[in-house]
Structure formats: structure tokens, C-alpha cells
Symmetry: C2
Subunit: 225 residues, 2 copies
């Protein structure tokens, strides 16, 4: 029987690469996505589409209305998604998002008796989010080991973040080697309902430049206007 | 301006006592409950009723289908809630429940700029749940300090568990001193739709004996059959 892995799966470039890495390591893959009140719901559509074409045991979408708390440009209608960064922790930061996602993954991992939770968090191009840093991941692992039945029995789930020290360029090169089709992945916070990107926001700029530097053909679909 | 506290609020005896403690310490109180697929939804009805009679700024009920993962007698229709414990971690344990609840509270805390998250977890009569132990709470605090914008700025939310070292008897005595009305609180996992308790399950037995020992009048409503 193969080992089981849960992949935190947004349908973006990073998590799709992460899924390919988990598959290349021989895990049975269980993808976990969230409908958390994000305005950019085309991301979720991309996740469904990619999952349906991938070798995944189960793709679960958990509804959890983090948007009802407000406080982020990604969920709060009163805060606009900026086109360029202003330094510091950006307004697109969703409070405690990774902690909530990891926690729900931990719950599923315990029921599935999964060995690993894969997450595409990244400390290099991490845009200033506190919950993408290695020291945070380490502290979550320590907490998870104490939180769960499996953890206190000594066979708790391991958090793996294979992209954490890679640049966007290296992530794309890695995914390209593994045969990832990036045409369906959505990175743009303002993508339209078909997943076409705006081409001007921070996220689009980082992605565009990374494909160039990686010398990989950029299959991103852009809005026409 | 008063300091703000989020109270993880199930409508049970412990969290209702915890709410009274937070109020007695002068906090503005924000109650957080979860509809997580629990079979004993009368607990949630109790939470609503108690909250509506209490001095609470906001009572938020977050829907999060942990039941879709299965694995616990409290959420899984295929696992019966036992009437008495069998030792070890019981089947009523919901995988990673406290971690998920604390994480969502952390998200709200960051938006509210709350100072404290109160939770009625208890290590004495904790029924074998791994996520009710002091070492777990400490590890969560450490993780939270690294996870959030407020945490890395040095004014992160503090997790307070004022009941953690109290027995059920001491909890009831404490609540009684603070004027808590325990008649609406539900401890039974099999309470009926009016919140009347079965009187036979582990949870009922512990509660019943504790009121006796505390020498406090037991206002629990029991099912008639």
C-alpha cells in the first residue's frame, strides 16, 4: 500500500508543482482546497479542473467563511486588491490563513492516517506573509505532534514544504521537469471567471518574469482588454 | 476602551464558565461557536440561547464540516456514541478539533485585534483528549506568535485556559461564585432537541457527580423516559 499525502491545493502554480512532487515521490494524493470567501474564486475553478485531470484519490473542498471576519483585500469587499506592493505585510495577507488550512489538513490527515501534508509555501518570494517562514512551519509541526492521537503515539503526520527555499524560477523549472501543465494554474488575484490573468498585479508580474528567467514557455492566459 | 477577548463557546458547562471569567476580568467578549457536523446540535442551540442572554459584543457561528472527514463518534453516523468510557483516547475524540477551533479564533483575533482567546479546555477531567493538555496549549501559543502579523510585531493574542488545572467540581464552584446559570448549558453528547440530557453517558455522569460534590444545586434538565 502506498503512503498517503494530503496536498494543500489552491490551483495555483506553487501548489500544482507541489502536487507533482508528491506524485513523483510515489504518494497516494488527497487534495484539499478551501472555499474561504476569496474574491478570486476562479482559483477554485482551476483547482477543480486540474484535480479532475490529475491522479488524485479524493479532492475535497471545504467551505469555511474566513471572509466573514474581514481584514484582507482577498476577502473583504471594502479593501481593494492593490496592483503593486507597498512594502511590509501586504493587505492581501489573510489573517491566520495557513494556520487554518494546515489545521483542517491535520484533521483529515488523522482520519486518513496520512503520512505527510504537502504545502507549497515559499519563503523566498513569500510577499511578506508571516505564515510562510520556516520557523513558523517548524512551530506548527511541534504543535501538531502534541495535538493528535497519532502524534502522541509517535507516528504523527509530517509537514513537507518542498518549495520553501526555492525561487519562483526554480519552482517553474522543477515543475517543468515533472511535466506540470501550467496553463490551467491561476496566480492572479483578479483573474476572470475563465481563469485569465490581469497581467498587471504583483502576482502576475512575479509569475511572468519567472517564466522568462526560467526559460520555460509561459502558457498563462491573459485578459484581452 | 476595554480589552477584547474571544471565547471559544460551545454552550457547555466549561465554556460558559470561561465566558463568565472573561467578563469578570473586564474584557469585551466575542463568542465563537462552530457548527462542525456534531450530532449533538442541541449544544449549538444552547450556545445561541446563552449568548443572547449574556453581555456579548458579537456571537459568531462558523460552519465548518469536520464531519465530512468522519473518524469520530461525535460526527460520524457509523460510529455510535458509547455510554461509558473504555479507556485510552475515546471514540468521541474529534480529530484535531481544538487545533481547528483555535486556528479560526486566531484568524478572528487578528482582525479584531483581540488581546486574549479564552478556551475552557481542561486537563484534569479531560477524558483522554490529546489537545487539552498544557504542553499542547503552550505549543499552539508558540506557533501563533510566529503565524500572525500581530505576533511577529510582539503584541500577538494570548491563549488563556483558566480551567485547565481545575476539577469539574472546582469549575462549578467558580462559576457558581460568578453567578453562572447552568440550567441552559448542555454537557450531554446525546441531549434531545430541547437540551435535556440523557443522564447515563460519561459526560452526564461526570457532571452529575461534580454538582453533588460541589454542593451546588444541579439545574440540569433530564430526558423523562
Amino acid at each position: 500500500m502506498n503512503k498517503k499525502a494530503i496536498i494543500l491545493f489552491s490551483g495555483g502554480l506553487d501548489s500544482t508543482t507541489c502536487l507533482a512532487i508528491a506524485q513523483s515521490e510515489g504518494f497516494d494524493c488527497y487534495a484539499l482546497s478551501f472555499s474561504y470567501g476569496q474574491k478570486h474564486s476562479s482559483e477554485l475553478q482551476a483547482a477543480k479542473k486540474i484535480a479532475s485531470h490529475s491522479d488524485i484519490k479524493i479532492h475535497k473542498i471545504i467551505v469555511l467563511d474566513l471572509g466573514s471576519f474581514g481584514g484582507s483585500a482577498l476577502t473583504d469587499d471594502n479593501i481593494e486588491v492593490p496592483e503593486c506592493s507597498t512594502g511590509g505585510i501586504p493587505v492581501t495577507y489573510v489573517p491566520a490563513r495557513n494556520t487554518v488550512f494546515f489545521s483542517v489538513a491535520l484533521a483529515w490527515a488523522e482520519v486518513l492516517e496520512a503520512d505527510v501534508i504537502f504545502a507549497g509555501v515559499n519563503a523566498v518570494d513569500y510577499s511578506g506573509y508571516p505564515d510562510c517562514r520556516p520557523e513558523y512551519i517548524k512551530a506548527f509541526q511541534r504543535m501538531a505532534d502534541l495535538a493528535t492521537k497519532a502524534g502522541i503515539e509517535g507516528h504523527g503526520v509530517k509537514i513537507k514544504t518542498p518549495l520553501i527555499h526555492l525561487t519562483k524560477v526554480e519552482i517553474i523549472q522543477k515543475g517543468h521537469q515533472l511535466g506540470v501543465d501550467y496553463s490551467q494554474t491561476v496566480s492572479c488575484y483578479q483573474a476572470d471567471e475563465n481563469g485569465a490573468a490581469c497581467g498587471v498585479c504583483d502576482s502576475c508580474q512575479i509569475r511572468q518574469k519567472a517564466f522568462e528567467k526560467a526559460k520555460v514557455n509561459d502558457p498563462t492566459r491573459y485578459q484581452l482588454n
